[in-house]
């Protein structure tokens, strides 16, 4: 399949691997920001192929993982108490709220639908004029244009029974938060390819300069990832710190102006709570005042008491790359994908679930064999 198979080519992968091995002279810690990259690294078994000196640290770019507990409780409240049709992307459904997950609420009778596109939710609202339809608008910059478009779409069609519960987060402030943490030992970043497809790469120059770190915008296929890692290691070994774009077949320097325009029409930047990390200034999107009637928070006046996170879950340390999943005492014990203590064990992009499914078991195997 064109544009897929050539980026999973074993020969190319081996060339990149041997190049990485050849130039690596010491231990490097590189954070891949995006959960999609984490997923691909483990799914393709890349972590086991890299030389031991190149250590990949999994970043906070898993939208499901960083959606605050309180917001999931709000979604649960809307679905269970306000009789709305709650629409969501699939992997949000298993994330535990303070008492239950959306999947459990669905079993208890809530009308919860898995959709691939928020525009579907607008159609659903149109088809059900006597019901309120709420889309759980989760994600990074990547999903923001579609969510913004759904609001514009509803507005144009005069669909009044549609609103979104927003939990949009932004990558650059998260990188800044990771670097500002005194325990952080990250030396370079693979920046998230799809986020940059939307937003372009200009926002990353100041970060490279401020923290004097190499940053390479990288794609998701094995060849992309290894090329990105090679470019990063080259910079590290040469003592350079620049912004490079490995994913240039998709990422244009200025991003996608139309998508940015849609985002800017509908959203404004606000401070946002990140699950496991805390409040990060100017790190998310909220609806602009002129679109408040599409804001489920305002429309339903949801006031949910903030619940406390599980004290056993070290998601914050995992998301900032300070600890690895298997360094958590509950990893694979009390906390498993079927009974997650925290969100990183839920989504396949979450570092804990990724390790649990694909990687940790391999290390166990190597240890016994």
């Amino acid at each position: 399949m064109k544009y897929v198979t050539e980026f999973r080519n074993q020969e190319l992968v081996e060339q990149y691997l041997s190049e990485i091995k050849k130039i690596t002279t010491r231990h490097w810690k590189i954070m891949e920001v995006c959960g999609g990259q984490t997923h691909s690294l483990v799914k393709n078994g890349i972590l086991n192929l890299l030389p031991k000196e190149v250590e990949m640290i999994h970043g906070p770019g898993c939208p499901v993982c960083v959606t605050p507990l309180n917001l999931i409780d709000k979604a649960l409240y809307l679905a269970l108490e306000k009789n709305v049709i709650l629409c969501s992307f699939g992997d949000m459904l298993r994330v535990p709220g303070s008492e239950k997950s959306l999947l459990q609420a669905k079993a208890a009778g809530a009308d919860i639908r898995i959709l691939y596109s928020p525009l579907e939710a607008v159609n659903l609202a149109k088809a059900n004029p006597d019901r309120e339809v709420v889309f759980f608008a989760v994600g990074f910059e990547t999903t923001a244009p579609a969510n913004a478009l759904s609001v514009i779409h509803a507005h144009k069609l005069g669909v009044e029974n549609y609103s979104i519960l927003t939990s949009h987060v932004l990558v650059p402030p998260a990188i800044e938060a990771v670097m500002n943490d005194e325990d952080s030992s990250i030396q370079a970043f693979l920046a998230a390819g799809h986020v940059c497809t939307i937003m372009g790469i200009d926002e990353y120059y100041p970060l490279v300069e401020k923290f004097n770190i190499p940053m390479v915008v990288t794609g998701f296929e094995p060849v992309d990832l290894l090329q990105g890692i090679l470019m990063t290691v080259q910079q590290l070994e040469n003592g350079e710190a620049k912004l490079e774009n490995q994913y240039s077949r998709v990422v244009r320097p200025k991003g996608n102006p139309q998508a940015i325009n849609v985002i800017e029409q509908v959203f404004q930047v606000n401070d946002r709570e990140w699950r496991g990390i805390g409040n990060i200034p100017k790190s998310g999107y909220e609806l602009k005042p002129e679109f408040h009637k599409y804001d489920a928070n305002i429309k339903f006046d949801v006031n949910i008491k903030a619940a406390k996170e599980s004290e056993e879950c070290i998601a914050g340390l995992i998301l900032k790359g300070i600890k690895k999943p298997f360094e958590c005492p509950e990893f694979g014990k009390k906390c498993k994908p079927e009974f997650p203590l925290g969100a990183p064990m839920v989504s396949s992009e979450g570092a804990c679930a990724a390790y649990y499914h694909f990687h940790q078991a391999m290390e166990d195997l190597e240890a016994v064999s």
């Binding site: 639908r113 799809h194 391999m362």
Partner: protein
């Protein structure tokens, strides 16, 4: 309901009825139930045993029999390449075949939600008849219940089946041994993706059709030729190939190695999986099976399989190994390794 399907079944036209919809009364056991059954259920599925219309069927069987049951609750009930009716027959037929049995007799129970259109019920019945003929089995007893609207999802079907064991069959988990080869009979993930392509909220255009089909004929041919060298047969329905292989590794306490480059997936299905963020290894199948066979016959077995209808893409995808007991380890296309676990809950599409 797709128009083509109705045309296809002109050989069994729906009888003239004075009702077009199934209501609670049709499950009362009284006049309306009899009316419903007399409209054609008995005629369509006609055989000596069913024709007695007794409370149960009286059967004669040979020595050892296999016995299995399965319930079908699929939504939507009509999907590209089939419907719930043939799925219910093929599902139980295939479970019997996986035991090394020759399927013979089936029971057939409907739980119908009131409001199901008679036209749809008829369509399901006709495909049940055709599936029975294709598999060479008879429906010998059955039941029909109707539940209130909102208490079901159009129609649920349960089938239970028995069949006598093939004289050469010796299929058991304890026969699986180190060195055995793992073979899949055809492309993976076709059924699951066909269903997903018509699910509400996920509709996408494709010509992917469910692979639902009876496997008993193919299995019989293989048992005739390879008998005891076939150590285990499994049909990887829900949970997909990954889940079935994990179960085998767990139960036989051995390791399994599989190789991604050898796993056959249709290109369109592969593309759909890429777009939807699904792993074909975890997607449901209906018309394929996994065979664990002695390594000495593996190549012959695969060649023989490829000559059978709908098995052109049969492939040896891995082997049973001594190392990493109870674990399935996949070597990815690029040579990396990862553990393949059982599916947790449903496979949910990812955000981005």
């Amino acid at each position: 309901m797709p128009e083509e399907k109705i045309k296809m079944n002109l050989s069994c036209p729906m009888p003239q009825l004075d009702f077009d919809m199934i209501t609670l009364g049709h499950g009362s056991g009284g006049l309306l139930t009899n009316k419903l059954l007399d409209t054609g259920v008995f005629d369509l599925l006609k055989n000596e045993i069913l024709d007695k219309r007794h409370d149960g069927a009286i059967l004669s069987t040979e020595n050892q029999i296999a016995f299995t049951t399965d319930s079908f609750v699929i939504s939507p009930i009509f999907f590209p390449g089939g419907n719930i009716g043939e799925l219910a027959i093929n599902g139980t037929v295939n479970d019997l075949a996986m035991c090394g049995a020759i399927p013979q007799y089936l029971s057939l129970s409907f739980i119908i939600e009131e409001g199901l259109m008679m036209k749809e019920f008829w369509e399901v019945l006709v495909s049940i008849k055709m599936a029975c003929e294709a598999a060479g089995v008879q429906v010998v007893t059955g039941d029909t219940k109707v539940v209130e609207r909102g208490k079901g999802d159009k129609i649920f079907i349960n089938t239970t089946g028995i069949g006598h064991l093939h004289p050469k069959a010796s299929i058991a988990m304890e026969h699986v041994k180190v060195g055995d080869k793992i073979i899949v009979s055809d492309n993976l993930a076709t059924h699951g993706i066909a269903i997903m392509s018509v699910r509400e909220g996920l509709e996408f255009e494709s010509d992917i059709e469910s692979d639902t089909r009876p496997l008993n004929g193919i299995v019989k041919t293989l048992l005739d030729d390879y008998g005891k060298n076939i150590h285990l047969l499994k049909d990887p329905t829900r949970g997909g190939v990954a889940t079935v292989l994990s179960e085998i590794a767990r139960d036989c306490k051995l390791g399994i190695d599989i190789f991604q480059k050898d796993i056959p997936v249709n290109e369109q299905v592969y593309g759909a999986c890429e777009i939807l963020g699904l792993d074909p290894l975890y997607v449901a199948n209906e018309g394929i099976f996994i065979a664990v066979v002695d390594s000495a016959i593996a190549d012959d077995f695969t060649e023989k399989l490829k000559q059978q209808e709908h098995c052109n893409n049969a492939s040896i995808i891995g082997e049973v190994v001594e190392s990493h007991p109870r674990q399935v380890v996949l070597t990815s296309q690029i040579g990396g390794k990862r553990v393949v676990n059982m599916l947790v809950g449903e496979q949910l599409p990812r955000i981005c």
